[in-house]
Symmetry: C2
């Protein structure tokens, strides 16, 4: 019966890992690693399984994000991070879009190579302190001035917790601009299908041989399953017991944490 209940762990060649809530908990002093996760990342790599981090982080470049994770003990590289900003840059190039950016200052280097003259779209990230009345009106005017407004949102989170309290996430500002301009944003980031497909392409493994591991029942688990992947929910990070009664999404399995998931997967290689 133990073997039967772990059927989800068979025929795996690669793992997609959410970061916040799976590898570490963000917060004061840059966050703290979740027990066993750094060791779990090392074991994945030693096993020959492929690994890619799949995150909606938009308050830092991948370089700075990876620097922080390495400082917390995680053996990861920039090439192993799939994040919304680089995916958005590819989308902009493919479609000849020139963005007006409303993003965090620390994210701007990701868009250094992008033509931003005479904008024909707006790219919205978690701009935090840059979400001023003036900046929101400016982004709105750029959008409403287009014949057909194009709004690209880096994720659509509702809110998140920081050490000084809850903060509105990018999704709230996305909804404000959607309503004002009567337009539907294109979301680049989890749970969008094309974002998971990018992550799979970078992982180099087809969906049926990949497992997503995350703490968000909708964005991580639901999104990955929509792409044909198996998906596990960890009982760390933003996990709540009520997630196990979610009306729409049911993970392939629950695991207590990343370390337990890796234990089971490695036993089935």
């Amino acid at each position: 019966t133990a073997m039967a209940s772990c059927g989800w762990a068979r025929a795996v060649r690669g793992l997609l890992l959410d970061v916040s809530g799976v590898l570490y908990d963000s917060g004061a002093d840059g966050g703290v690693p979740i027990a066993g996760s750094a060791e779990a990342v090392r074991r994945i790599k030693a096993s020959g399984l492929k690994l890619q981090l799949c995150t909606n982080e938009t308050q830092a470049t991948r370089e700075n994000f990876v620097r922080k994770l390495r400082g917390l003990g995680f053996d990861v590289s920039v090439a192993e991070v799939t994040a919304p900003a680089p995916a958005a840059c590819r989308l902009l190039r493919e479609r000849g879009l020139r963005p007006h950016l409303l993003v965090h200052d620390d994210l701007l280097p990701e868009f250094a190579e992008v033509d931003k003259t005479n904008p024909n779209c707006v790219v919205l990230g978690d701009a935090a302190e840059n979400f001023t009345y003036a900046n929101l009106n400016e982004a709105f005017r750029v959008l409403i001035g287009m014949e057909k407004p194009v709004l690209i949102s880096l994720g659509k989170g509702r809110y998140y917790k920081e050490t000084d309290g809850l903060k509105l996430d990018v999704g709230a500002y996305m909804k404000a601009l959607e309503y004002a301009c009567d337009v539907q944003a294109e979301v680049v980031g989890k749970p969008s299908k094309s974002f998971f497909e990018s992550a799979l392409a970078e992982l180099g493994v087809p969906p049926e041989q990949a497992i997503m591991i995350g703490d968000d029942i909708v964005s991580d688990v639901g999104g990955a399953q929509q792409c044909g992947m198996r998906a596990l929910q960890v009982r760390t990070g933003k996990y709540r017991p009520s997630d196990e009664n979610h009306p729409q999404v049911k993970p392939d399995a629950y695991v207590n944490n990343l370390a337990e998931a890796v234990d089971i997967i490695l036993q089935h290689l």
Copy 2:
């Protein structure tokens, strides 16, 4: 045939008038009166018809709003203005709600008598420069901290034009908070039915004997008709010819301006 086409003008005892776009055009230097509108207001009063202004203005107290209108030549008093803030105050009293306010500084005196300690709802107006990142996060935290969040929005406009460009209106920020808190705002102001009912109560005339006159096909005309009133659209203010093909709303008549509407109504008294 002239008489037949004016059937809408019979058996009228009172008029509800929208203000911006009907009495005056807002803009530089406080706005300019629309030709014939000040005289039309005088003629309404001289005829014995009852009159009430029905506005979504939330950037000033009624006192200051009326002072501006009188300066533009309109013979109106504070008691003749139905505006969202006083309606919201009544609603707060009736339901024992203590608001956290995110509104324009100039509107604050309307809430002077309201208990604002230990808030159990959020009231959102067109806060303009008060729509800061910090103030939005604070309003959000108050809301999300409630067992059952109550969000009251003074109108739900998408945007408006000022002399220095387009500005996001309160509706955009309402949508941001609705999404973040997974809650539906209660709108106090046009086109809400209870707001028109308040205006009718202040007018002292039942809906079937009242006519609403406005420039907004949805908020003025559609809202009033939902309450059983007749409603005219003026071809001034934000009126556009395309309004005459609106898929859902058809006014009882179009008039070139308030003066023409009053001409016809007075002929049928």
